[in-house]
């Protein structure tokens, strides 16, 4: 049973809020709710989009009444378990830090008052957890950045962030699957294939995955990805 706050988003979607902060517990509740809605939805929902602390569901307003959509969601929340998924997959991703691959790395280390090697090790130390995919196809929002490494986003976003860039903004960490505009601080780059629409599993990562960054001495070393555990 999950406590939820259901808000209409126009006449064709609902936002279901499960928390007012971003942490692993709230993120686990989000994925549990998203799974429960998928089971209970019975085809009523055309899309189920989890985020940090909420789930958005879309429906066809001529086919599904808002009250029925709300009742389905409420029923799903009652049946959702708060248990974390025990089957956790760890994904090791190689990253080439600094220089042309991470144009903000040196200044970020300087701003934090850390030597570059220490900054890199501190960044790679934690297990990051994929909260959800959003912003761009296959873009993982990662939790776990140590608060001591938090940096504000750029005042003016860059028009072109290269594909594979590993970036941070405040408490958030993410990887750009393709070139795009972006305002996050860029620390390094990976050639890991984060998204390919032609694959049967287009996104490399899924919510709940643990990500471990490993420093690489050359960009070529970052092509392959190592999976440990999990059903996949």
């Amino acid at each position: 049973m999950l406590e939820v706050d259901i808000k209409p988003v126009g006449d064709a979607a609902l936002q279901i809020v499960v928390g007012d902060r971003v942490d692993r517990e709230v993120v686990a509740r989000v994925s549990s709710l998203a799974r429960a809605i998928e089971r209970a939805g019975g085809g009523a929902f055309s899309d189920i989009v989890p985020a940090y602390a909420s789930v958005l569901v879309r429906y066809d307003p001529l086919r599904v009444d808002q009250a029925i959509a709300m009742a389905l969601v409420r029923g799903a929340a009652e049946n959702a378990s708060e248990l974390m998924n025990a089957d956790i997959r760890t994904v090791r991703i190689g990253v080439c830090f600094g220089g042309e691959y991470g144009v903000d790395f040196e200044t970020a280390a300087h701003e934090l008052g850390m030597r570059e090697a220490r900054f890199r090790d501190a960044f790679c130390k934690p297990d990051y957890r994929v909260a959800f995919l959003g912003f761009l196809a296959g873009f993982p929002y990662l939790l776990g950045l140590p608060p001591a490494l938090a940096l504000p986003r750029l005042a003016t976003p860059r028009p072109r962030v290269p594909a594979g860039s590993v970036g941070v903004a405040a408490f958030q960490c993410g990887i750009y699957p393709r070139q795009s505009p972006g305002g996050w601080r860029l620390l390094g780059r990976t050639l890991a294939p984060l998204f390919d629409a032609s694959r049967s599993a287009p996104a490399l990562l899924a919510p709940g995955d643990v990500v471990r960054f490993e420093p690489a001495s050359s960009i070529e070393e970052t092509t392959s990805v190592d999976f440990v555990g999990g059903a996949a």
Partner: protein, 334 residues
């Protein structure tokens, strides 16, 4: 079946792409639904040529586009109020038309509106990616972003059973500015406060040149009260985001799946087609509507879509009428 019929792009204009009603069920991967920005015009064009609502068709932008039919086919053009020429002769849009081999189909710059839809009987054939023929222009996958010289295959259609159809004049979109987008309060309205919401409803905005298939950007008034650091949440087409600079963004078909800007209003499903047709400089106003009103407006749009009739010349019975009149939910919802 013999060789597929072909349609060649002679001038793709500003942006022409293959679209359908969008890619559903993959939002959790961060994949945008994409699809036709103006769902009403896309469905209407498909119905005129006897296709299902979700058939792949071509969306053009702003200054029009030109195509050449290599083989005979049935076509219809809907959307923006744009002049249409077939083989050099001026023709009506919002009507099904027979084109002969070698005919040029030229969509001119619209007098009002922004996007035109060209449907062909049998549909445009592109491989489906993640269950849809829609082009994700920003993502660079799915469908096809069209370039001058491209050749497209047309599906086997019912060209032999062609009967000319048109929409009743009252059924088509009225696109003369000022455009009124009916909206309800968004999920973050109470956090932003009623003063901000009232201000959004009170003012006249203008379409910005920075708009895209992702979102209609509006300018003309900087509204204070927008914050940029809320917790990212799922969004959908119609969401009116209020970024820190106070210039609202109405999300369109190719929106990002999640966003961090507060959602002050939501344009109702029935008026998303109008939002998709706003040109840079057009005056835009938000008009308050309640939930019942939103529902009535969508029911009305669905019934206008059914208002396809045979053109009077001798057509007493249209064998496709029942099919054309099928429900809104036949394809994916917008």
């Amino acid at each position: 079946m013999s060789e597929p019929r072909r349609l060649v792009v002679r001038d793709a204009g500003l942006l022409a792409s293959v679209q359908d009603l969008g890619r559903l069920g993959v939002g959790a991967l961060g994949v945008s639904p994409s699809g036709a920005a103006d769902w009403f015009s896309a469905r209407a064009a498909n119905r005129l040529v006897g296709n299902g609502d979700g058939c792949a068709l071509i969306e053009t932008t702003m200054n029009g586009a030109t195509f050449e039919a290599i083989d005979p086919m049935t076509i219809a053009v809907t959307g923006a109020d744009a002049p249409l020429w077939i083989g050099g002769k001026r023709k009506h849009s919002w009507r099904s038309l027979r084109v002969e081999a070698g005919d040029r189909i030229a969509i001119g710059p619209p007098a009002s509106g922004l996007r035109s839809y060209l449907a062909v009987g049998g549909g445009v054939e592109v491989p489906e990616v993640l269950g849809s023929a829609a082009t994700d222009v920003g993502g660079g996958f799915g469908g096809r972003r069209l370039a001058t010289g491209d050749s497209l295959c047309v599906g086997a259609g019912s060209s032999e059973r062609f009967s000319e159809c048109e929409f009743e004049p009252g059924a088509i979109l009225a696109l003369r500015p000022p455009l009124r987008l009916r909206a309800v309060a968004g999920p973050d309205a109470s956090r932003l406060g009623s003063a901000v919401v009232d201000e959004l409803f009170a003012h006249a905005f203008r379409g910005s040149t920075r708009s895209s298939r992702q979102g209609l950007r509006l300018e003309g008034l900087a509204i204070t009260g927008g914050e940029s650091d809320s917790i990212s949440a799922g969004v959908c087409a119609g969401c009116v985001q209020l970024p820190g600079d106070g210039s609202p963004i109405v999300l369109l078909a190719e929106h990002q799946t999640t966003g961090g800007y507060p959602v002050a209003l939501c344009v109702i499903t029935a008026d998303i087609p109008l939002a998709a047709q706003v040109r840079p400089g057009d005056e835009v106003r938000f008009e308050r509507i309640d939930r019942t009103g939103a529902r009535d407006a969508l029911t009305d749009a669905a019934s206008r879509l059914r208002a396809v009739r045979a053109v009077a010349t001798g057509a007493t019975h249209d064998p496709d009428a029942a099919r054309l009149g099928r429900g809104f939910a036949e394809g994916a919802s917008s």
